[in-house]
Subunit: 220 residues, 2 copies
DNA sequence: GAGCTAAGTGGACACCTTGTCCGTTTGCTG
DNA sequence: CAGCAAACGGACAAGGTGTCCACTTAGCTC
């Protein structure tokens, strides 16, 4: 989906090298995905495992490619082969956790899934995201490298979801509002509220839910 | 005000040392402010001027202490004497621009200043901040180094202001909502909406103003 | 206005991170 | 089991970070 996705993961999209062959032997043996070699797969798993630990036990912002490589027991170049920078490793790890929620938003029961009023769905979405942040804050902070955050596949997914809710509610010009509605979910903001201000997750959650219902109020 | 303020600026608030003395020799020879030397003042001005240019003409995130020092024509240690890192330089520069708005919020005419309904005041505040972002985006991006953003004096000011509006409107539990209400003003978000999505500032502004009125609606 | 003192200066140093290059190893295929 | 390309990992050069210390110089005192 995103760039990070293409670079960072790739369990399924390994056919990028195919392009090099040109038209000469185009559609013949091309589509046969050049499977990832076993050692590469193993290294990749080691990297992800080691990185997850690192992100948790030290300031996620200070995790470096060098350290990940050492912790995973692989060379630097090997690491670079799979990921362009530390944040893309965090993105890959987060992705797995986010995937479940993404399924629930589409196929799950209301209020998270379809069927409930837009305001209720937005409130439920906020609470689910808050739960995700609570459980994986280090990864979320590690993934958040400036503007790149907005270009991840996951963020794109949240955008599509929120847009649906806004349109469903009959908002005139939904597009500028999408990211405004998503902005309270910034990992850094959550960290500030939670650990700097000392607010409980429940209290933040209540505020967010009220906020969602107020934003998409039935009697507009 | 903030840490950055104490380190970064100080032209006006030089009486901070006074507090250290306690009651012993209080008002005697202490209050004599340890004036900044003329050459230091000059260097400081050079640094700010050079840095402002740098932030504008290259990616604000890639501005380095080394480059600022070279551009300003001073040694690295001299720079470090005034600022701990590049973002604190950006904060100092931004501060000057923000000060005017801060005055208007307190003493200015409605709807920015006191006198208008909370929803209108919040809408006006959003628009003013948007204007600030539009004009000084590079500085805002340079200042935004992770969680430090929330610890600047300016952010503290915005918090106090928004809290007043929320209380004024009769919100039950205003505190968690403060930062939620401020989150749409994140410089990175603005950059994404403006330059990645291509939304016009007017369109974002309209959305934000509607958003403010909806949030603090009269007929709650 | 000469001398003193400490604030201020700037170059150098040691350390760390980044990407990339390239000789070597290793899995897979026929 | 032989050959080839994918994958590996150590090494390298470039550049950034803070800090230290010998020096300069502003500003006070007499």
């Amino acid at each position: 989906m995103s760039d990070d996705e293409q670079r960072g993961r790739g369990a399924s999209s390994v056919h990028r090298v195919g392009g090099l062959l040109g038209d000469l032997q185009a559609a013949d043996d091309q589509p046969v995905a050049p499977r990832r070699r076993a050692d590469a797969e193993r290294n990749r798993a080691q990297i992800l495992a080691a990185a997850e630990q690192l992100f948790v036990e030290q300031d996620p912002r200070t995790v470096t490619m060098d350290r990940i490589a050492k912790a995973a027991g692989v060379g630097r170049a090997t690491l670079y082969r799979s990921f362009p920078d530390p944040s893309s490793v965090a993105v890959a790890l987060l992705d797995e956790h986010e995937r479940r929620l993404q399924g629930q938003l589409i196929y799950g029961p209301p209020p998270l899934g379809p069927g409930a009023p837009a305001g209720e769905r937005l409130a439920a979405f906020y609470l689910a995201m808050l739960d995700l942040l609570e459980r994986h804050l280090p990864l979320a902070l590690g993934a958040e490298t400036g503007p790149a955050r907005f270009r991840t596949g996951a963020y794109g997914f949240w955008r599509v979801h929120v847009r649906t809710l806004l349109v469903d509610h009959g908002i005139r010009d939904p597009d500028p509002l999408i990211d405004i509605a998503l902005s309270p979910l910034s990992p850094e903001l959550f960290q500030f509220q939670r650990h700097e201000l000392g607010l409980s997750t429940e209290r933040i959650g209540r505020s967010l839910a009220d906020f969602a219902r107020q934003l998409l109020r039935s009697g507009e």
